[in-house]
Amino acid sequence: MGKSATSRTILLLAPLLLFLGLAYVVPFLGVVRWSVTMPEPGLGQYRAVLTDPLVQSVFIRTLRICLIVTAAVLVMAYAIAYVWVRGTSTQRMLAEFCILVPFWISVLTRAFGWLALLSNRGLINTWLQAAGIISEPLALARNEFGVIVGMTHFLIPFAVFPIASAMRAIDERVLLAARGMGASRSRIFWSVFVPLTYGGLIGAALIVFVFALGFFVTPAILGGGRSVMVAELVYLRIFQSPDWGLGAAISVVLVLFIGILLALMRRFIKPAHLVG
């Protein structure tokens, strides 16, 4: 019995494990090989990642954008998650709609929507000019500001799910107890409610930060090539100035960095939070 159960388990698990092994893990090893063989064998590309001023500046910009985006996303997600979890039933429904509809709309459509709002002939500049508030269009897109806005928009739903789940897990009686002991509404919120959601906040921050690091579609469109982030740099190194070795080395460094980050913080990540 024990033996046949094992073989049956393997029979069910094997197809997916084999598929991902052959189509994902083995090719990733190929990328690792590229990083140490192109253009010549050795660790030269890793030295370039650590010392090349261009790569460095891209890494620093990426880190800065990711931190700003993570902070903005957490504040915005917290507010809407609170309404989604604790609002009246109408408020809850509206919040859910505003969270889920953008979540399921293609990243391209969303980036395009921001271009329609922020570009020189876009909605915001057209209105401000028509109202006589500005004479020259403001530079809102094709720069770092546009990238931050677009990424924040993309990542809010990913932060809402873990935060909302932490809020739902709060025991109502704790809040009642705080109230019974005479705490004011804002005291209950800041000293009791928010601390009880730290786990969800840390999980959300991790997901947002990790996703932001590896993101390249939104920055490529809203940055207009002027605000290159590390993922876009990989793309450019593969397709525009073929330097596969450097692209591969940056990829390996990214995976190592994120792997270490997630290994340290793994108790805050729950897979179910990733799909809403």
């Binding site: 698990l13 329609a116 709002l117």
Partner: protein, 270 residues
């Protein structure tokens, strides 16, 4: 609980966030009716020329058909693999379950650009051996999408499985049902809405996939997002606005369908 309802300050912030979330989707609508050939707000007259362009230019229709085909194949692969895997985890609770689940979620956690590179390596390698599955082929794209969307399908199916009452499976086992009967007659009927949701959402994810697709296609396998990308990079083609409006409508319908499936799912298990 009255005291913990959101207060006025929080409601104002949340409303601002909600507007922020919807704004870019709404902004696409007026732009799609511009009479100009460049991205602009229509002033005065409205025009349907960019919707007409979607019909006149056969590239749009071809890419829609290609994306449909790729979406259906990759969603089928992902759903079957994820269902088998989920059943294995749930029925036998093997040691190292958490590790195995972590492993299959890798494509979700690894930065998209790294996955794209990895699949680029796979497809160029496959192309060296055959001309059907590999770089810039539709089956190649479907396989690559399957890699990327399977983790989502796994999560959705595991969530559905963990809501199933283990005692019904134990009862079936006690009555002598074999593995196939338990899987097909007991467990799968109980998670059929989870499987349907997984298939639907896998399809949507493949339909929208751009990060990996950019790396593994060039001139033959032009999916819809790939075609949109080409119109977005340099001179923005307002036809993108027209297609975006249509996509937003389709997504809203699929979302409504999902909610409908889930409602039926919960009402039947009650």
């Amino acid at each position: 609980m009255q005291s913990s309802r959101p207060g006025p300050v929080l409601l104002i912030i949340a409303t601002a966030v909600a507007l922020f979330l919807l704004m870019p989707l709404l902004a696409v609508v007026p732009v799609s009716f511009t009479p100009q050939r460049f991205l602009s707000m229509p002033t005065g007259t409205l025009s349907l020329r960019h919707y007409q362009a979607l019909i006149d230019n056969p590239a749009w229709g071809q890419s829609v058909l290609l994306s449909l085909r790729i979406g259906i194949l990759s969603s089928a692969i992902a759903t079957v693999l994820a269902t088998l895997f989920g059943l294995g985890i749930w029925m036998f609770q093997p040691r190292f379950s958490a590790l195995l689940i972590g492993f299959v979620l890798l494509p979700l956690i690894v930065p998209p650009v790294v996955s794209a590179m990895t699949l680029y390596f796979l497809m160029t390698t496959l192309s060296a051996f055959n001309s059907y599955i590999g770089y810039d082929t539709w089956i190649g794209v479907a396989l690559a999408h399957a890699v990327m969307i399977t983790p989502f399908a796994v999560v959705l199916i595991l969530v559905a499985l963990f809501q199933v009452d283990r005692r019904i499976d134990l009862a079936a086992r006690g009555l002598g049902a074999n593995l196939t009967t338990r899987a097909f007659r007991i467990i799968i009927p109980n998670i059929k809405f989870g499987i349907a949701t997984a298939a639907l959402l896998s399809f949507v994810l493949s339909w929208e996939e751009i990060g990996v697709t950019l790396f593994i296609t060039s001139v033959n396998a032009i999916t819809l997002p790939r075609l949109m990308w080409m119109g977005l990079r340099d001179n923005i083609d307002p036809a993108i606005a027209a297609i975006s409006v249509l996509l937003i409508i389709v997504t809203a319908v699929i979302l409504a369908l999902r909610i409908f499936i889930e409602r039926r799912g919960t009402s039947e298990t009650k």
